[in-house]
Symmetry: C2
Subunit: 390 residues, 2 copies
């Protein structure tokens, strides 16, 4: 049984309980041996002590070059190190985007639903958040344009364009182009949160949105090693036009202490250079696809009336519950049977998505997911039979 | 010759050049062997993979308990882990303080002069900065009170209370009490930047300012391992009342991803637990005191008319130049002789301190500092003889 006890952020998974809300790699998928090997390679008694000195503003050049190769090969594109900088976690990058690009109007427009903690990150930086609905092609750009035409002008649009959290949809190419064109026309930035891009199950995800920017200086893609190596590393990267990279590097925190996590970045650099991170990610893709397939197959079989988009990548399944079942109340019953999920309202900006639930397939093994689907089926069945008593 | 080449933040020290502006430990003082040993102890193939999982909001409990012992023993006080949380660099903590405590008025009041990059950190968070002068007892609280009484109300006062950067003075106990009383009376916070506290040369520095808070919930002390272990770690801690720790942990970035650098914090925890960081710091104290003594002795001998406070700890010497010599222009001449320093105006908020220079004694060996003092003496002597031509 996959379990994880202790005071972990975003809640723990005690023994005997299946917490399908957990958007984390399972303990078995955290490659301690791989990371420890890289740490030993980069940190040893004879290593250069300057590894412990202040880093550079955009990250050590060897890391940035290895990162350029990694991102280019991973996406089948060709970008150079001048479009990349080392960063901390995506949360921290988003916080920094608010400082750098959020001061004129104090407003971000986001997909609704979105990453359930994004609102708190933006509000902690003093910004308001307005939502735009999502369909099977991602953010509905017609709706975004309507909002903007009504006079609501954001500092930036926040999007998770590939394998969106929570809906798993990917923004279509046509909408990507329209979004960047709108940014240019109405003078706002686009901040793309792209942690799942390399976790595709069939075709590759589109290139990071910043790749489309093409000199327009409107798009910043933020990514991290959290979902593909280890969340505790708190290390990631930013892709943008060189002029934007330069502007980000002028942030007071970076010009004071350098790019945000140089020692960890140095260790991760070893895994980029020797190709072992790419190998690890290829294995993760297979694992997550098998887990997703197990969950989807079980739900298709047990609850054929359930509606959801079959994820082409990422961590999540976004499910519309049968008519009349409120997710928040269903959760109470699910917990009594030792399973849990994330009610749609947790991901909602408008608080109108209590007819949806988010299931993560990243944390549990296939058999556990199949069993959990059976329990969920039973809980929903009980609700439908007994709803007047519930 | 101590040198450091490469694109390091806050400038490099090429061979044959003595850059007395560098507020960094020298490469020889960066304990790679010690840190690599701790890394190997905490990261190995059999280690718990959950070390790579999301951390907790305030830092892993084992680390916080070891930190409580370290801080308590280092300062001769008795504080518990509930008053401490793991953090990133001080720059990042200051940025977070702006988000959390800087939104009502957008104003911070700071010592003037202060840490030369502090203004950029605060301004990156959209805050204005007003300065208060400093004398041999630290921030002049009468002046602070006069500013506040005139109607200028800060969100918080930013202070470097022990071994101040750049002046090296320590805020007197009486002024510490008055500062906290003012904070309570006029409803502002006090954010104390305390990276040098354990680097005292004689008597211990006063306890971190947050220790004085005593339930008033007005003082937050931010510190880091940058100056006592390695700047590249980007790891530190925050000391404050438990209610304030809780409030900081609610920041969107922390409630999303946990305390800021869990893997590095985990490694540093080994050095706290086995006492080797305390031993390393004791050695640093001796080294920095010897370096300080070498610089002060040379300047006393060569330039007896120079005025400065003999530092009781920290990294810096703050020198008033002989009458009529502008630091910024003296610097041009110094560079021609392969030495450099930080002109006072770089540390000034009011831009009126071009009659001062900041010399760091942390980076160079004693003989190098003695030689640099001789060159500085010659440059000043040349200026005084030739000022009409300069």
């Amino acid at each position: 049984m996959t379990s994880q006890t202790g005071p972990f952020i975003q809640s723990a998974a005690p023994d005997g309980f299946t917490n399908l809300a957990l958007g984390q790699p399972s303990p078995r998928l955290l490659p301690m041996e791989l990371f420890a090997g890289a740490a030993a390679e980069r940190l040893h008694p004879g290593a250069d002590p300057l590894v412990l000195q202040y880093g550079t503003r955009t990250g050590e050049m060897g890391f940035r070059q290895a990162l350029a190769d990694f991102v280019s090969q991973g996406h089948g594109i060709d970008i150079g190190s001048e479009q990349l900088m080392a960063a901390g976690s995506i949360s921290l990058s988003l916080n920094m985007m608010c400082d750098l690009f959020g001061r004129r109007r104090g407003l971000v427009i986001s997909e609704d639903p979105t990453y359930f903690l994004a609102r708190n990150i933006f509000e902690s930086s003093g910004m308001d958040v307005v939502g735009v609905p999502v369909d099977h092609e991602g953010m509905i750009i017609d709706e975004l344009e309507r909002i903007i035409a009504s006079g609501i002008r954001p500092d930036f649009v926040y999007t998770i364009p590939s394998f969106h959290n929570p809906t798993s949809v990917t923004l279509s190419n046509a909408r990507r182009e329209r979004l960047v064109a709108l940014a240019l026309r109405y003078d706002f930035m686009v901040v793309a949160d792209e942690p799942y891009n390399l976790l595709y199950f069939g075709n590759r995800a589109p290139a990071p949105l910043a790749t489309l920017d093409d000199g327009r200086e409107r798009v910043i893609s933020v990514s991290s090693f959290s979902k593909i190596l280890g969340p505790g590393l708190r290390a990631g990267w930013i892709q943008a036009a060189p002029s934007l990279i330069e502007r980000i590097a002028d942030h007071g925190v970076i010009s004071s202490g350098g790019a945000l996590n140089p020692v960890i970045t140095h260790i991760v650099g070893a895994l980029l250079e020797n190709g072992s991170l790419a190998t690890h990610i290829a294995a993760l893709r297979n694992t997550f696809q098998a887990r997703k397939d197990a969950l989807v197959t079980a739900l298709d079989r047990d609850l054929p009336t359930l509606k959801f988009h079959d994820p082409a990548g990422g961590y999540f399944l976004w499910i519309k519950l049968p008519e009349g079942i409120p997710a928040s109340r269903l959760l109470t019953h699910a917990r009594r049977r030792d399973i849990s999920f994330m009610p749609g309202s947790s991901c909602a900006l408008s608080a109108e998505l209590d007819d949806h639930i988010r299931l993560s397939f990243a944390f549990y093994e296939e058999a556990e997911l199949t069993a959990a689907a059976a329990v969920l089926t039973a809980v929903i069945g009980d609700w439908e039979r007994n709803q007047t008593n519930y």
